[in-house]
């Protein structure tokens, strides 16, 4: 998957959830990726450099990596 496209998608989700506050935005971005992204998209964003993402999206991806989530 084209990683720049996935980064854009993750950041765009995060940007639209910012008004809910940081914690909810992180949780919301995580849930969105978990619920709507195909496994290869998740794998690609998990393998990506977190610094290439906005802080909220990066935190959501960290959450995605947790096996109990």
């Amino acid at each position: 998957m084209e990683i720049t496209r996935l980064r854009y998608m993750a950041d765009q989700i995060a940007r639209n959830l910012v008004p809910h506050g940081e914690a909810l935005a992180i949780e919301g971005t995580f849930q969105h990726i978990r619920d709507y992204w195909d496994p290869r998209m998740k794998a690609a964003i998990l393998a990506d450099d977190p610094l290439a993402l906005s802080p909220i999206a990066a935190a959501a991806v960290v959450m995605l990596a947790q096996p109990d989530r």
Binding site: M9, Q12, R15, P19, H32, D38
Partner: protein, 947 residues
């Protein structure tokens, strides 16, 4: 059924709590108060001759044929205009009445051609019937006097003729255009003997007039004056089958009137709950594509897309395709395969395609055209209300006091609903239009919007949040409704958010370009004007904040208490005929039918137990993700039923690259569409006239589609999908589509009470049809939201990343016209092209002047993704800085220009905002030339020898 015209009760049905009992010709009859004597007589099986009356129109009382006698009253009143009263004793037949009626008929016939045997309406003519009923044998006045018999026929309309020599000046056509359609294109010109039906000005014919070819006048005409050309050519139908239109999401039902296997005409069905006997130019007339010479009826395969197609047998096509699918699955895994369901196909067909993908391919890579239209509706309404559908039936609009139309153009996109809306507006409801363009509803005969908020494209959320700001800060919120029906804490958070100064109409005016005071007035009107109903379209969803906009709309309805009863609600106007159904049937990659997430173990288990397979618990790929994945080699095979993603999806170059990268593209369609240029297998499809199943319209109404002729390709589409599944080794054995619906109802709670037998008996059902709503649900969220408490969602305005600049200074927005449908695959193969032969670029006079462009000039339309050429139409319908075009023609391929930007939540493309430049041009773009050449090469067919 055999051929009989639908019963005509003469005057419209009346609704009243009071019943009156009277006697007509010795028969007791009870009818609602206000019912005409004519209708009352028809109700008890009587028949009063009439010519100017029909039950789709208000009584007119001009022909003087329907006279009756009422005991205790003098004279012979017209039964069409006389209301029934308690205790009345009415006689419809007497010597006096017979003499009067015969006298009237003599006058009519003295100026009417006596060519019944060769007339196209022979044996289907109300004038002829009336003459027979009154026993007319001679005309005392002769036929030599002044008459209209020499008047020329107007054949300018491609679908019907107007022969004024047969006109009896009953005004039914004029009244149909006024009352039913609401275009007011026709009039009676002149007086007395000179009276004649006229379409517009004296210089106009039907084609050049304002007529929109809805067919209401033709349907209303009691003679052969306005007659379908097809009836003239083919003859009178011999049978009729009620079925559902395959064009837009209104879901009109029609009588398909047939002679043998030949369709003679489509006549709107008066008992249709969505259309009540009305139609538009597409459903009424544009069905000729079904037998167009471009139709492909034999399967074809090829090894690579640069080869010509090779016609093969169904067996060879299916075994070849199944083998290729199984090989790719074995090599690359189930997630390398996927499918796209069709919103033009039936629920049953959609169900089978998504089942084939999930249970056969083994992935959840299934998506549908709703991805590019109303996926944000599903997301937004599900988050706020708990269900992915509109809240009202269409009839609800007749109880609305304020109608807010946002990003929709109903007169073009949903014309039959628009006619009902206009009827309500003519009765006095107020209208707010939020749209960058001045759509027809803003100002048309007898209609004028109270407010037109001509916002800058891409600022929907800003406008709606500013409206919410005005409502909250001016204390117009319906606090009682909110406390009872919504989460109060969430409301307070939301109210605090929208009340911030940065959301005020004044602060946002430079962004939205909507004058703050106008916006405040619109907000006040919506909040305080009585029943407020919102209708919206793709101008809401096809944005980077499409889902946010849907949620902002849902918020507005909740904060004003405009939800959960007649006359209010949130109503997405769905584009394609079965886009609601295709979404209901589990066409999204993250959810099973009935909008239940694939990760839900219990739901998944119910399908696994029924289908005897294990399902992938992970979401699949959306269409744009499929194309991305194709480019990296992880997505290799795609089955596309009844969609043309190359033409309809954004950034055509990217779509083409994705399709080209796939090893196997299977197109299942009527025609070699643009996507088929990149396909390896072509499976011929069947039209809606050739299949049985159901469509679900925008009001969640499930209606039968009935086969009226055998499929030209030999199989209905569900049979093709089943044959492919069987070739792949799946044990599917549906013997008819009703069995598929039984499976749908077994596995989908909202469809629990739906079956073909029940639909046949009841006509239609609106889901949910379950134990709580055994007869369906015309209005949703009546006693509470589906999710429990209504949820206010904070929606902050986030500007799109698509920005204008020196290189691309204009904003392009796209849309549809009345005469064409979607990518035009069907309508371009009908006479509808006479109204819209090419896509045009609307441009404001100032922008055109700056570029040296005049009306009709060729211009190059360029964005950062591509360019195309098309002709310019200069108009102030669009604001300066905004240009607009349609996407109906592949020669233009407007989506070469649109970008990959999409809605943050659903990836619905941002069709409505593309930064472009427009410059004069003298010929097609390089891409257009190369694509035309490629397309021609790709469509070569090696026919079977001897065929």
């Amino acid at each position: 059924m055999g051929y009989e015209p639908q019963a005509d009760f003469g005057t419209p049905e009346i609704s009243s709590d009071t019943q009156v009992c009277l006697t007509i010709d010795g028969r007791k009859v009870t009818v609602p108060a206000g019912t005409s004597l004519m209708r009352a007589a028809a109700t008890c099986g009587g028949s009063i001759p009439s010519l100017c009356a029909t039950d789709s129109l208000e009584a007119f009382g001009s022909c003087r044929m329907c006279l009756v006698e009422i005991e205790g009253r003098r004279g012979t009143p017209a039964s069409c205009t006389t209301p029934a009263e308690e205790g009345m004793v009415v006689h419809t037949q007497s010597k006096r009445l017979a003499r009067l009626r015969k006298g009237v008929m003599e006058l009519y016939i003295s100026d009417h051609p006596l060519d019944c045997l060769t007339c196209s309406a022979n044996n289907d003519c109300e004038l002829q019937d009336a003459a027979a009923e009154v026993g007319l044998r001679d005309v005392r006045y002769g036929y030599a006097g002044a008459n209209h018999l020499g008047l020329a026929t107007d054949s300018s309309n491609p679908y019907f003729d107007f022969d004024p020599s047969k006109c009896i000046a009953c005004s039914r056509c004029v009244r149909a255009c006024d009352e039913v359609q609401g275009t007011l294109a026709l009039t009676i010109d002149g007086r007395g003997f000179a009276s004649k039906v006229s379409a517009g000005q004296a210089s106009d014919d039907f084609f050049s007039s304002e007529c929109v070819s809805c067919g209401a006048c033709v349907q209303a005409c009691p003679t052969a004056t306005l007659q379908e050309k097809a009836v003239k050519e083919i003859g009178k139908p011999e049978r009729a089958v009620v079925t559902t239109c395959a064009y837009c999401g209104v879901g009109c039902t029609f009588r398909a009137e047939m002679r043998g296997e030949q369709l003679v005409r489509m006549v709107p069905w008066k008992d249709g709950k969505a259309n009540h006997g009305h139609s538009c130019v597409k459903g009424r007339f544009a069905w000729g594509y079904a037998n167009h010479q471009d139709r492909i009826t034999r399967p074809m395969i090829r090894e690579s897309i640069d080869q010509p197609w090779r016609e093969v047998s169904w067996d060879e096509a299916l075994s070849h395709t199944a083998a290729r699918l199984n090989t790719i699955k074995a090599q690359s895994g189930a997630r390398a395969l996927g499918g796209i369901t069709s919103s033009r196909c039936t629920n049953e067909e959609v169900w089978l395609v998504q089942k084939l993908v999930r249970a056969g391919f083994g992935s959840n890579n299934v998506d549908t055209c709703a991805r590019v239209c109303h996926s944000p509706t599903g997301y937004g309404l599900s988050k706020t209300y708990g269900t992915s559908a509109g809240t009202q039936d269409f009839d609800s609009v007749m109880d609305a006091d304020v109608v807010m139309v946002i990003g929709a153009n109903p007169t073009d996109g949903h014309p039959v609903f628009a006619s009902r809306l206009k009827r309500r507006l003519r009765q006095g409801a107020r209208l707010i239009v939020i749209d960058p363009r001045r759509i027809d509803l803003v100002r048309s005969p007898h209609i004028e919007a109270a407010h037109h908020l001509a916002l800058q494209p891409g600022t929907n959320v800003a406008v709606l949040t500013a409206m919410a700001h005005a409502i909250v800060t001016e204390r117009l919120a319906d606090e009682q409704f909110i406390r009872e029906r919504c989460d109060w804490d969430e409301y307070q958070d939301w109210a605090q958010f929208v009340a911030q100064d940065r959301h005020s109409p004044e602060v946002l005016e430079p962004v939205t370009r909507v004058p703050a005071e106008e916006l405040r007035k619109a907000a006040r009107l919506y909040a305080t004007g009585g029943n407020g109903a919102i209708y919206y379209g793709l101008g809401v969803t096809e944005h980077s904040q499409g889902s946010s906009t849907v949620m902002a709309i849902a918020n507005l309805a909740m904060v004003t208490g405009n939800i959960g009863r007649r006359g209010v609600g949130v109503n997405p106007l769905r584009g394609q005929n079965n886009v609601q159904g295709s979404c209901d049937m589990g066409s999204f990659p993250h959810e099973l039918p009935g909008y239940r997430h694939i990760a839900g173990a219990e739901v998944r288990a119910s399908f696994e137990a029924d289908w005897l397979v294990s399902l992938d618990p992970e979401p699949g790929l959306r269409i744009p993700n499929m194309l991305d994945a194709a480019l990296d080699g992880s997505f290799r095979a795609l089955y596309v039923q009844g969609e043309d993603i190359l033409q309809s999806d954004p950034n055509t170059h990217h779509v083409a690259a994705g399709l080209k990268a796939m090893d196997l593209v299977i197109v299942h369609d009527l025609f070699l569409n643009e996507t088929a240029n990149y396909a390896h297998v072509f499976l011929p499809g069947s039209t809606f006239l050739e299949k049985t199943g159901t469509f679900t319209n925008a009001e969640r109404r499930i209606q039968m589609v009935r086969k009226v002729m055998e499929p030209a390709n030999g199989m209905e589409d569900w049979q093709v999908t089943q044959a492919l599944a069987q070739a792949m080794g799946l044990d599917w054995n549906y013997s008819d589509s009703g069995q598929i619906m039984d499976e749908i109802s077994r596995l989908t709670p909202t469809f629990a009470g739906v079956s073909h037998a029940r639909l046949d008996a009841e006509g239609s059902l609106q889901w949910p049809v379950d134990s709580a709503h055994p007869d369906g649900s015309p209005i949703m969220h009546v006693d509470g939201f589906v999710r429990g408490k209504g949820k206010f969602m904070v929606t902050d305005y986030v500007p799109t990343d698509e920005r204008t600049g020196p290189r691309y200074p204009l904003l392009l927005t796209t849309g549809r016209t009345l005469s064409q449908y979607n990518v035009g695959a069907q309508t371009r193969r009908t006479a509808n092209t006479i109204w819209h032969p090419e896509d045009l670029l609307e441009m404001h006079p100032a922008d055109a002047e700056n570029r040296g462009l005049k009306d009709g000039d060729w211009a190059r339309l360029a964005s950062r993704t591509g360019e195309t050429t098309l002709r310019v139409t200069v108009t102030d319908r669009v604001a300066p800085g905004v240009v607009y075009t349609t996407f109906h023609h592949p020669a233009t391929q407007a989506n070469v220009v649109t970008t990959e930007y999409s809605d943050w939540a659903t990836n619905c493309p941002e069709y409505k905002v593309t930064a472009v430049q427009v410059v004069p041009s003298n010929g097609p773009s390089e891409w257009q030339e190369s694509y035309a050449s490629w397309s021609e090469k790709s469509r070569r067919i090696n026919r079977v020898a001897g065929e």
